[in-house]
Symmetry: C2
Subunit: 301 residues, 2 copies
């Protein structure tokens, strides 16, 4: 699982600071999460093979999370894309994007599907045999979802040497990996646990931005390998966080602690602070494993 931060800032794009966009590589998929103005340039800058993106997840319809979407969609057309593209985002996203293409008579050659969201309950948006993507309903000034990307549990590991030594039929291997007990050529039953071992723990990534401090998300993101939680402010501006329905670094850390996640990644910093380290320092008073999102930074698990 590999997360690339394309933009870590809040508000408007600047020469040295891009608003929110990320790319998550998980089980062969390349998922784009949010798409601020300039995202297509960031994808190129950080050498992401972005033709591989087939699913784009938009948290909410503030400009710093989606103004780059129409440009990316157009660029795919100019690059001759043929593969389908799926966009998941709040109700209204389809009309807002398509109207911009329509006024320029610029339609896509590839199939573009919009999946508009309006539920306040978690919804499975994507599922295959290896991964699921589910919404995490958040609480912001407008309708907003985070996203939980989760690997499915892998099959159990088979101790092939032991299976051979015990004379287990090879045709049983598949079922044994799926949890069945083994049977030897002589007809003897071997308990599954004796010739298998636990698969690696499935990895997961919880993306939570933008949101006020919102403890109801904790059960859903419990034990996530990585949690990105917005921290627009430091706690000395807690009143501003409340007013604008954003979070402080301290609040992000409380969520991370209560959800017992592996690593907390902070981001969506307000431009008023010059020094990101202040966010890390504040969060670390609550939760140990804190990292800072920075444009171009890669988190590999």
């Amino acid at each position: 699982m590999k997360l690339t931060i394309l933009g870590c800032h809040s508000a408007t794009p600047r020469w040295d600071a891009n608003p929110t966009s990320q790319v998550l590589e998980i089980k062969g998929h390349l998922f784009l999460i949010d798409c601020a103005e300039g995202t297509q340039v960031q994808l190129r800058r950080f050498k992401v093979k972005f033709a591989r993106i087939k699913h784009i997840f938009i948290s909410h319809l503030h400009g710093d999370h989606f103004f780059g979407l129409v440009g990316l969609i157009s660029t795919f057309r100019l690059l001759g894309r043929e593969a389908d593209m799926h966009v998941y985002g709040p109700k209204g996203i389809k009309d807002a994007i398509l109207l911009q293409l329509k006024v320029g008579k610029s339609y896509t050659n590839y199939k573009l599907y919009f999946h508009e969201l309006e539920s306040d309950e978690p919804q499975v948006l994507f599922e295959d045999d290896k991964v699921t993507v589910t919404t995490i309903p958040l609480s912001h000034r407008i309708y907003t979802n985070g996203f939980l990307f989760k690997e499915k549990p892998a099959e159990r590991g088979l101790d092939v040497e032991k299976a051979r030594a015990l004379n287990v039929e090879m045709s049983y291997y598949r079922k044994i990996k799926q949890g069945s007990d083994a049977i030897t050529k002589e007809g003897k039953m071997i308990p599954n646990a004796e010739i298998t071992f636990d698969p690696p723990k499935p990895k997961s990534y919880a993306y939570c931005s933008d949101t006020e401090y919102f403890p109801p998300i904790v059960p859903q993101i419990k034990e996530a390998t990585l949690l990105y939680h917005e921290s627009t402010f430091l706690h000395d501006n807690h009143d501003l966080a409340v007013k604008t329905k954003h979070s402080t670094a301290k609040e992000a850390a409380i969520i991370a602690k209560n959800a017992n996640v592996g690593t907390l990644i902070l981001g969506h910093y307000s431009g008023r602070y010059g020094n990101y380290k202040l966010f890390k320092d504040e969060a670390k008073t609550i939760f140990e494993n804190v990292e800072l999102a920075e444009d171009g930074r890669v988190f590999e698990v």
Copy 2:
């Protein structure tokens, strides 16, 4: 008159190449011409005092000329802008921009006026005592206008020393500058030409992009100080230019020559050519004063 190129390329924004946007400073105004994705970053990069922009002119509704507009409008709101903003562009631009703000419940605090264009005849869009801005109807795949920015003729220069020596009443000075003959305190008439001189020639800038080779524009842009004319292709790709309704460098130069402009600026280069100099070389076979638009380049007259 000062023209700053913010983006000189065609098609999509890239790390080292921005699509079309320009800023023209003329008689105290700062006019923005087209607004591709990334324009607000380019304005910051080239240190344009962009809060001073009050009028934005959009040639047509292809993404590489307007996808940055909604972001710039939003940024003005975040920066606390209070001054009115006027946007001039093809019919449809208002809905396409406002819908994106509406889905995010992100309205502007300042007054935003859209002036939608649909005429195929030149229209005066802006006029004050020093400058006019007029559309230049172009011929592209969709409805497109160029823009002619033109200083108004200044008053005639008065030879004050001569006027004093001739004992001309000071209260007549104003009228003399406007062309009246002078009258001395003794009542003698002095012909205007004897105590005035020609004002500097009014400067003008003609922006023509995107367009196929379209000679009907020549009379309107005659004698322009500066002409920006798109040259998406070199002439060896003339068939492509015809097909996509763009121009070649040679065609841009023919327009410049027939309009007898001061300087031709080429731009809107297709990404297929590595070397801009090829465009200049081709145009110079037809017309001498050719310059190349480049991101950040400033033309001062």
